[in-house]
C-alpha cells in the first residue's frame, strides 16, 4: 500500500489518496482541446468521465509540437486551423470544473504558449478556470525555477517527465521540482499508439518507482493503447496510466459519426479503467 507523507489540499492529491485507499491505479485521459471542435471536446470529456477516467489532461494545441507523433500533430493542426486558442482551451477546463467539481484537470502544452503571455499570467488564468497542474514536455528542469516557484504559489502542480535514460541522480533533481505526480515516458520516442512495449519500458518504470518510493504517484504514458499494456505496467510500479493518442485516434476515425464515437470512447475508457483496478496489489 502506498503511503504519502505530505498531502496538499488540491484535487490531484485527494484523488490519488482516494484511489490508493481503493487499491486502484489512476486512469488519466488526454484530449486535444477543440479537436474536432470545442462543443464536441466537451461531449468527449463527458464520455471519458462516464467511462471512469480519474484525471483529465487537456492538450492546448501548439504549432510545433516536437514531443508528439503524427496523431496528436494532426489533431493539433486541425484544431488550430479551426481557430482554437489557449483561452478557448481553458474554457473547456472551466466547463469540467462546473460539471465535476472534484475531477482533477491538468494542462499539457508547450512552454511557448505560457511564455507568450507570461508564465504567471497564464497560470493565474488557468487557475481561475479550475486547472490543477501543468505538463510541459519541453520544459527542462534547468529552465524551470521561475515556473515552479510561480506555480507553487498558485498551488498548481508542476508535472515533470522522466525518461528511460534518466539517471537516478537527475531523477532526484526532477522530483525536487515535481508535484502532483511524476510522468514516466515509457519509451524512447514521441507520443503515439503502439502495439507492444519492449522490456526496457517496464525496467524504466521499476527504476523510477524505486527512487520515488511513496513520495508521489508515478504515472506512465506514451504509446499505451490497450488494457493488456496496463497490467504489466502497474505490476512494475505504475500508480497511474496516461492514454492519449489512442483516444485521439478514435475521435479521428469516427469523426463522421459522433454518437458512435462517443460510445466507443466510453467503452474504451471503461476497459482501460477496468485494467487499472485489477492486480494493483499484486507484487
Amino acid at each position: 500500500m502506498m503511503k504519502r507523507t505530505s498531502l496538499g489540499n488540491n484535487r490531484l492529491n485527494r484523488k490519488f489518496q482516494e484511489l490508493s485507499e481503493k487499491n486502484e491505479a489512476a486512469l488519466i485521459c488526454y484530449v486535444v482541446a477543440g479537436y474536432p471542435n470545442i462543443p464536441t471536446t466537451n461531449e468527449i470529456l463527458s464520455s471519458i468521465v462516464k467511462g471512469g477516467a480519474d484525471v483529465i489532461e487537456i492538450g492546448i494545441p501548439f504549432s510545433d509540437p516536437i514531443a508528439d507523433g503524427p496523431t496528436i500533430q494532426e489533431a493539433s493542426y486541425r484544431a488550430l486551423l479551426a481557430g482554437v486558442t489557449p483561452e478557448k482551451s481553458l474554457e473547456i477546463s472551466k466547463n469540467i470544473r462546473k460539471k465535476y467539481p472534484s475531477l482533477p484537470v491538468v494542462i499539457m502544452t508547450y512552454s511557448n504558449i505560457l511564455q507568450r503571455v507570461g508564465f504567471e499570467y497564464f497560470m493565474k488564468k488557468s487557475k481561475e478556470c479550475g486547472v490543477d497542474g501543468f505538463i510541459l514536455p519541453d520544459m527542462a528542469i534547468e529552465e524551470s525555477d521561475k515556473y515552479v516557484m510561480e506555480a507553487s504559489e498558485l498551488d498548481l502542480a508542476t508535472i515533470f517527465l522522466a525518461s528511460p535514460n534518466t539517471t537516478p541522480r537527475r531523477l532526484e533533481a526532477i522530483l525536487a521540482r515535481t508535484s502532483g505526480f511524476v510522468y514516466v515516458v515509457s519509451v524512447y520516442g514521441i507520443t503515439g499508439q503502439r502495439r507492444s512495449f519492449e522490456d526496457y519500458s517496464l525496467t524504466a518504470i521499476r527504476n523510477v518507482k524505486q527512487v520515488v518510493g511513496s513520495r508521489m504517484p508515478v504515472a506512465v504514458g506514451f504509446g499505451i493503447s490497450s488494457p493488456s499494456h496496463i497490467k504489466p505496467m502497474i505490476r512494475a510500479g505504475a500508480d497511474a496510466i496516461i492514454v492519449g493518442s489512442a483516444i485521439v485516434n478514435i475521435i479521428r476515425n469516427l469523426s463522421g459519426n459522433k454518437k458512435k464515437m462517443l460510445q466507443q470512447i466510453e467503452v474504451f475508457v471503461r476497459d482501460l479503467k477496468k485494467a487499472c483496478r485489477q492486480n494493483y496489489l499484486l507484487p
Binding site: 516536437i66 514531443a67 507523433g69 500533430q73 511557448n112 507568450r116 522522466a162 524512447y188
Partner: protein, 411 residues
Amino acid sequence: MLSNYPVNARFGDYGGRYVPETLVPAIEELERAYDRYKNDTDFRKELRYYLEQYAGRPTPLYFAKNLTEYVGGARIYLKREDLLHGGAHKINNTLGQGLLAKRIGKKRVIAETGAGQHGVATAIAAAVLRLNAEIYMGSKDMKRQRPNLIRMQLLGAAIHPVQSGSRTLKDAINEALRDWITNVQNTYYLIGSAVGPHPYPVIVRDFQSVIGQEIKMQMEQLSNRREHPDAVVACVGGGSNAIGTFYPFVDDSDVSLYGVEAAGKGIKSGKHSATLAAGSHGIIHGMFTYLLQDQFGQVSDTHSISAGLDYPGVGPEHALLKDIKRVNYVNCIDDDAAEAFLLLSRLEGIIPALEPSHAISYAMELAKNMNRNENIVVTLSGRGDKDVDVVQRYLKMKEKKNEKNRKNEKK
C-alpha cells in the same frame, strides 16, 4: 567582453535548453565531448586537415573591383565561402560536428535542411568520414531546391520528406528532433545553424568562426598594417554564417557589423522571415530567442525567396547582439536580393546563392554612403547554382508583371 558569452548556457537572457527529458543525456554527452575536444590537439589537427585539404580553406577575400566601381563608394570585398567544397559555408560546421560524432561513437547522423546546403554538406561530411546520413527536408523546399536534393541522394544520404506544418526548414527541424528523441541512443543530431538547445549555438558558432578569423587576417595582409574592415555584412536566417563572420569582431568596436534578414515581400506584408525586425520573445527548437509568432504563441508561417533564410526563429547570440545594439540588423526584400543576384553574376562572374544576395544588396546601399577609402567585407556564404530555377521563374513572373503594367499604361 562579448566574446565571453554564453554564460551559464545563455547569451544574456537568450538560449538555454528547452528540450524533452529524453534528449537531456544526449545533450549532456555532446557538451562533455565538445568541451573535451574543442582544444584537443589531435581533434583540431584532424579538423584543420579536412578543412584545408578537403574543403578548400582558406577561402579568398576577393576585392570586387567591378562591383565597387559600379556602386561608387566604399571598397567591397567578398569572403568567398561559395568556393568551398559543396558550395557553401555549411561544410565548416559539418566536418567539425562529423568528427565530434565519430569521437562520441555515433555512426548514424541526422540533419535538417532548408535550402539543401546543410543537407549537402552533411551528406559530404558523412561520406568522407564514413557515417550514415539521413536528412529531413520540407516538401516545399524539396521542390524549390531540387538540384541539392539530387546531390544529397548521389552522395548516399537518405532523404525524409517533411509534410507537416509549413513544409520548410522549421518543420524539418521539428521532425529531426522527433527522430532524435526516438533514436537518441545511436544517433547524432548534426544541426546546421547556430540555433537549438545549448550547446549547439556555441558549437556551430565556433566551427563557423573560421570565416571571421580568416577575414581578420586577410584584411591585415591586404592593407599591410593592422587594419580592420570598417563594416562587415552577412545574411541572417538561423544565423550561422553571420555569427561565424561576426564573432571574431564582436569586441572590436571600430568594426560596424550588419546582419541582413529576409524581408520577403516587405515587412508590412507579413510575408517575410525578418525575425529580429518583427519578432518577439519566444521558445522554439530548444531555445529562448526572438520568434515570429501570433498573439497566442503559435509560430508564424514565414516567406523568403531564399529557402535558407525562411525560418521564424534566430540564433540566441544574435538576439543578444541585437538588444545591446552591437550588430545592426537590417533587411532586404526578395526583389532587391534577386537584383543583387543578377548584378553580381554579370559584374563579377560570380553567381551567388540567394541567401547572401540579401547581404550583397545591403552592402551596396551601405557602400554608397561610405568613403572610397573605407572597406566593407561581405560574406558570400554560398554559390547560386541551386537557385537558377528559382531566379528564372522569378524573372518570368516579373516580365509578365511588367507587360501587364505596360498594357495598363497604354489603356
